[in-house]
Structure formats: C-alpha cells, structure tokens
Symmetry: C2
C-alpha cells in the first residue's frame, strides 16, 4: 500500500496529463463504462461553538484502469460573517492541518493500492474539467483570458487555460490588490506567460475572449452585460453565474447532471447548515441543472458543442465527481510506481484472513 | 493515526462490552443523537470470468463519543453453484486475503484516528445486535438454546447468547457433521458451557426456549411448526425466516427500518448481480421491513417489547448499520490507547496544509 504526499502529487501530476486522463474517463462514463458513486454529505453537531462537523465522501470505479476511488473530507466548518457576508471556513483543527484523503482500490484484486491527501489533486481535477470544456467549446483563436479570482482554485484554472490554448494576454482580477498581485508574481514565475493584474473587473473582461471564474463567491461574479459574441465562459461553481447569464449563452454545459445521487444526510439540531439547493438549481430557482447537457456528453460527442464562431459558450462546474479521483488517481499511481516515489506500507496491514 | 490488526480487535473487544457500547448508541440513535450514513453498494465488472467487483461502504457519526466511522469492503465476488444452489463467494485475491476496513475520524478535529480490518468487529457487532434484542425480548428464565449454523457468524451469535442469559444447554445444528462438531469443540474450549452438537434440526429445536439462526442460507431455516409459546427467535438475515414465520410471532423487531437510504449503484453490463430486494421486503414480497419497529426503538423504550411470558418474540437483523462501527470503534480505540496497542503512523501523512 503506497502512501503519497501532496508534494508527490504536485511533482508527478501535470495539468496536461490530468486533462488527458479525465477526458478518456468522461468518454467511458458517457458510454456507461465507468460508475459514479453518489456524493454523500453527513453533517452533525460538534463541540466548537457555532461549528458543525462535515464528513463528505464520493467515489467512482473505472474498470478500464482497474481502479475504485474513494475521496473523503473530514472537516469542522464554521460560517463567520466577514464584511457583512457569511463565509464557509474549514477549521484546521487536526494539529493545525486539514483532513482530506483519497483511497484507491483495485477492482481486480480488491486491494487498497494507495492513500494520499486530496488537496493537490482536488484543484487539478477542477482545473482539468474547465480545461477540457474550454478545449472543446472555446474558439481556436481565443487570445485574451480574463481570470476572476486569485486563490487556490484560480491557480488551477490558469494552469488549465494555459494547457489548452496559447494566450497573448492573461488578466487577473480579484478584490484584494495584495492577493492578485502576489498571485500574478507567482504565476509568472511558474508559467512565464504574459500575466497581469488589473484594477477592476470591467478592466479585466474588456475585450476578453474567455472569462474564467475561479472564486469562492456565493454571488454572481460574471455580469450579463459583459457577454460578447464568440466568448467562452467558465466557472467552478453555480453561484458564480445565474439564470440571466445562462440565458445570454447559446450553449451551456454543466459538469454532471447526475444530481439525484447526491445525498445530504443531516442530524437534527446540527447548527448553521447551509442550504445546498444550488446544486440542482441555480440560486434564483429558475434553471435546473438537468436542462443542460454535461461534460461527459460533450467529450463523447453525444451533445453538440460550439456550432459557430459568434456563439457564446459556457461551462459550469456544478458539482465534482468522485470518478475524477479514479482517473487522476490511476495516472498518479502509474507515475509514482515508475518513479519509485512514496512510502510502501505492508499490504497485510490493510487486508485480512477472515471475512463476513 | 493508529493501525490495529484483527488480533488486536479480538483481544481488546469482548462481547459484553460491545453489547454495552451498541446499546448506548442505539438509544442515542433512536433519539436523533447519532447519524446513520447510507450504505452504498457499487458493483462493476472485473476481468475474472463470471465475477464482479463490489465496493460497499457504510458509516455513521456518534457525536457523544466524537467519532465518525466509515466501514468499507472491496471484494471480487463470484456465484458458483454448489449442490444445486448458488452461493455468494468473496474471492481472496489480495495476495490470498480479503479487504475490509474501518476508518475512524474525530468529529472534534476531523483527524483520521485509526484504521483496522473489519472482520472481527463485523461479527461482534452482528452478534451484539442479536444479544441486545435477546436481552430485551427473551424471557428471563430461558435455559435451552438451539443454534442453527456453525460458521463464523454462528460463533458470534453464541457469544452474544452467552453474554445475556445463563444457559443450561446449548444445542448446535448445521448440515455438515464435521463442521458442527469442530464448532462445538472450539466453543467448549472457549466458553466452557454445556454445548452439544445434534444430528438434526428437529432434535436441535425440540423443547428449546430460544432458536438462534446464524447461517449463510438463502432460504428459510426456521420452520413455522417449530414455534412454541414463550419462545424467542433470532436471525442474522431476512432469508432465514419468511412471512409465515413472522406471522406466527406476536412481536417482531428488525434491526433497522432506514432502508430507503441503502443504495445499489450498478454499472450496466455487470454480470451476475444478485437481486437485493430482500432488504426491504421478505423473499415472498409479503412483508415490508418498515411494518416492524426496530432495535433502536426497542432499546429506547419507544416500541413495546415482550408483554407476556407466553408471547413469541422475534428479532431479524435485516441489514447492518455503519453506526455499529462508530460505537464499537470508539470503544476499541479507548481500549487500544489504554493498553498502548497498535502501530502509530505519523499524523501528517493523513492530514494536509492545503484545502479546497
């Protein structure tokens, strides 16, 4: 059983490879050759004042690669009000750290193959989904990217955009000047591209071919009057757009339509549990996720993408899929074994000689 | 993070303690103070001929003890026909061993506290459920026990019966003479009680106060004409009894009524997937599990148990609950820490400094 760290995942797993692995998986999934396990959110009270404990898990089996993945998060969550708006904050109470894990099993032998933290892969797969959608939906000749957000997720969105199109200019806007400038310095160091920080959202999107949102906002960040013929829009959560924006687009894809399988499992008296209704519906209740085709259908050619250069296309990552961890995980495991990376623990600690 | 083995679980966890821990948990659960996570069965094809891969997981959070448990099974399963009847066989393909694991998390910090194989705890908690039901439902003065079955599960059923009532005689029957005699030799060594093997099922149940089934049979093993006033019946799966037997009882309890939360998630083209319909209904389709109260209601006094000595009572363990692993797991962890047992792995292998 191989134990890997986030540093291993970061070193071994590039965005381009990740996009390739996920694309193949989506195609299989669209044809019924991969199984999505429902995401389950268990929420119960905890002792910390105003907090609740959330145990989330999702999974997926991809027989072509012989893997079953289980990704889980074990978090104490609070909702402090910052600048008048409630935020969702995961408290790092495990000796100052967070707890998110991916377990990979063999569908051929049953064995637990590997365990590793989910953080690096988490944003890689969110980025890869946006990248795949952009590759399929954006015009070939897009050259100016407007990136909204300068946090952890925005970094992976940038990696994905760089992986699928050549950019003349990337503009980054987020409300905090300090954050966006620090983000740009780091991004240039890493990618060497023409990446600049701009002073306002309008300055960011003016003349942009693609607007990519990668924020933690709970309210719309892409404004309807920004839409121009030929644009591609991309966002990592439903809250970043709304019905008005979607109605301004010709072609909209969501990440996954399989919403019914997501389960909220909440203990009574659990405080401060946020409404999760935005998963299946947009905030204003006007647009059901199921009315749009999804990324797997796009990749498999089962739903038409962009038809004309002047169309406006949009990809909304409405919710993650455990299968992404099966695809990225299988790739990671191959690479780790080839590179001889990770800590091997005795298999017999994780197997047994009795069974029910 | 503490890694324990089945030998540790066996040494540390006694049936009486286990019954005590589960009883407290059931009471909390009945009052909405513990959260059951749905059981999910993911079934996909695998390369082995005639086999499928099954990834099962179930969980539960018990805030009073600060634990969230996740129990998972990763199995390659075949259905060979033995003596004209299909059997469900888990293939030990992980270097000759099986894969079942319990993970315990802290609902206070989120940390992964422990990992251990599920085998020993699995049968302890099945036994404990039967023991709790027997303690609550059987007459105080029962003295003769008929045990049907001589396998792994039957062993735990015997432990449970011995933990809750003093027996004058325990009779064991199973179709294979060799198995039942070997079982009895081992049981006497371990428990020192008056335990005998008998030649037939009728000889086993004649004059018995309690009939306990602990078999792997897919067809009825308790016959309706065996029922006598004052008896208590117990079984570990719905198939061991049917509507006719249940109709002969005055009071029936199932293990859990929360069936709706159990999810079969099957990939198309998965071969040989058995029908799971017996979970919610008896094989003949006549008796819905939801028509009977459950063990948690019995323990909490929310549903009446035995009212008169001549009543016939029955407990049917229709399906397991992940919460049992939270209760037994919390107890195990306390005992392991007190005894300084297990392998401690560095916590930072299972935590991270980034999070989505």
């Amino acid at each position: 059983m191989l134990v890997l760290g986030n540093d291993d995942v970061e070193r071994l797993l590039g965005m381009k490879d990740c996009i390739g692995a996920l694309e193949t998986m989506y195609r299989d999934y669209a044809h019924g050759r991969a199984l999505l396990s429902p995401r389950v959110d268990n929420l119960v009270p905890t002792r910390l004042d105003g907090a609740y404990y959330a145990f989330k898990h999702m999974g997926g089996a991809w027989p072509a690669k012989g893997v079953q993945a289980l990704r889980l998060n074990s978090d104490v969550i609070t909702h402090p009000v910052v600048a008048g708006k409630p935020r969702r904050v995961k408290q790092p109470l495990a000796q100052g750290r967070w707890v998110g894990l991916v377990l990979l099993f063999s569908t051929e032998t049953g064995a637990l193959l590997a365990m590793f933290p989910d953080g690096i892969m988490q944003r890689l797969r969110v980025g890869a989904a946006s990248g795949i959608a952009m590759k399929q939906l954006a015009r070939e000749d897009v050259r100016t990217l407007a990136l909204l957000g300068s946090g952890w997720q925005a970094g992976a969105q940038l990696m994905a955009a760089l992986a699928v199109r050549p950019w003349r200019e990337v503009r980054v806007y987020s409300p905090s000047r300090q954050n966006r400038e620090a983000f740009v310095v780091k991004a240039r160091e890493r990618h060497g591209a023409n990446i600049v920080a701009v002073e306002s959202a309008p300055a960011c999107v003016a003349g942009a071919d693609v607007i990519m949102a990668g924020t933690s906002s709970m309210a719309r960040v892409i404004e309807p009057h920004w839409l121009r013929p030929g644009m591609h829009l991309s966002c990592i959560k439903t809250q970043e757009v709304d019905g008005e924006v979607l109605d301004g687009c010709h072609t909209v894809f969501v990440h996954t339509r399989e919403q019914a399988k997501q389960i909220d499992n909440v203990m009574k008296d659990t405080p401060n549990v946020p409404s999760q209704s935005s998963r299946g519906w947009w905030n204003d209740g006007s647009h059901n996720v199921a009315r749009y085709p999804d990324l797997a259908q796009l990749v498999a050619g089962l739903a038409p993408g962009r038809r004309r250069p002047e169309e406006i296309t949009c990809f909304v990552n409405n919710v993650g899929m455990g299968l992404q961890f099966a695809a990225a995980g299988a790739l990671l495991l191959d690479k780790a074994r080839q590179a001889g990376v990770g800590r091997e623990l005795p298999d017999d600690w994780f197997t047994e000689e009795v069974h029910p």
